[in-house]
């Protein structure tokens, strides 16, 4: 690895760490396109690098959020059981599912989640109220988490793009709590997937090590700044990120089809 490649991977990892920690999505949506499109890394290796880096984002962010009391442990512990079942199932059946239809369905889901995440006056007045989730809402959240884990296992992302809307919209926690809880959950989800990639020998150790160091630095920096940033601009940024990823996935699917 040359000095320039080292700096490029470190820079992409740093950017992914900041975005992932601030928005609670892990950074895979930045790292995979960054490594594969910008640096020319094979997609499978980019996904493997991304999964390990997502764990690093999660761990670095979780340390800060745990101390700050932002993570709702009971919610995280309950939902991550379903996400890991989905992630392990998705990782094991990845070779049997065609990618095209999956990408299109996922893109539609992202557009819906992005529209739902856009802040409105009604949302500000009702969704910030913390109350115990109803039985139906908890069942729906568990099912959505199972689907989120499945998608994470199949597509090599942490699953935060599903977990944040589930916790924020279904379980009616504030966006800050949803993002922090999601950051903790994606560590478990991505960790399960990354273990499979490590065992299979798909992880390129030198590149991944540099990316992880960049991600750790970026996500730690962002986690410390998180409490000083308002929810509203983050929600808009998150929604725009969802639309962008949806467009990329749809165009990728059409291109392959």
């Amino acid at each position: 690895m040359t000095g320039i490649e080292f700096a490029e991977v470190l820079g992409v990892g740093f950017a992914a760490g900041i975005v992932g920690s601030l928005l609670g999505v892990g950074g895979g949506v930045v790292l995979v396109p960054g490594l594969s499109l910008l640096l020319g890394m094979p997609f499978r290796e980019a996904v493997a690098t991304s999964l390990v880096s997502v764990v690093a984002t999660s761990v670095a962010g979780s340390i800060v959020y745990l101390r700050g009391g932002l993570i709702e442990l009971p919610i995280a512990v309950e939902l991550q059981f379903f996400t890991v079942i989905g992630a392990v199932g998705g990782g094991l059946m990845v070779a049997m599912v065609p990618e095209g239809p999956l990408h299109l369905a996922f893109a539609a889901l992202l557009v819906y989640a992005g529209l739902s995440m856009m802040p409105t006056r009604r949302a500000e007045s009702t969704r910030q109220v913390v109350r115990p989730a109803r039985r139906g809402e908890r069942s729906l959240a568990a099912t959505a988490s199972l689907g989120g884990g499945l998608v994470a296992g199949l597509l090599g992302v942490g699953g935060g793009i599903i977990f944040v809307p589930v916790i924020h919209l279904l379980l009616r926690r504030s966006f800050s709590v949803a993002a922090a809880t999601s950051i903790y959950m994606i560590g478990i989800t991505a960790g399960s997937g990354a273990l499979v990639y490590l065992i299979r020998g798909d992880v390129v150790a030198p590149v991944t090590a540099v990316a992880v160091l960049g991600v750790l630095f970026g996500s730690t920096l962002a986690a410390h700044a998180r409490g000083r940033i308002a929810d509203r601009p983050l929600q808009v940024a998150f929604a725009l990120l969802l639309f962008y990823v949806a467009f990329k996935m749809a165009s990728h699917s059409v291109g392959n089809g």
Binding site: G91, L195, G201
Partner: protein, 101 residues
């Protein structure tokens, strides 16, 4: 602060402390691996890097039983979820190992 809130606060601090220590070990190993590779100790650098990556990857899975164990005091439902999650992750890893061989 109620008993449940106090217990969760303890869980949070214990989990954060364990994560900090494990990540510190992982980062030191990655840094050692990078330096060793640069000065020409490629094999030693590769081992340190690999162990560092594994350490960081399994950190959330190691912290999970700690959270489950602490929540066990009066909250068996959430402890059951935590331990079951760990079992599912381990089964997935074993199946991946089996399919590789």
């Amino acid at each position: 602060m109620s008993g449940t809130d106090r217990r969760i606060a303890v869980v949070r601090s214990r989990a954060a402390l364990l994560m900090t220590r494990l990540v510190a070990v992982g980062v030191v190993l990655l840094a050692v691996g990078a330096v060793a590779s640069v000065v020409g100790w490629v094999h030693a650098g590769s081992i340190a890097t690999s162990v560092g990556l594994v350490t960081i990857t399994v950190t959330p899975l190691i912290v999970l039983p700690v959270i489950g164990h602490r929540l066990l005091r009066g909250d068996r439902a959430h402890a059951w979820y935590a331990w079951s999650t760990l079992v599912v992750a381990l089964v997935g890893a074993i199946v991946a190992l089996w399919s590789r061989s």
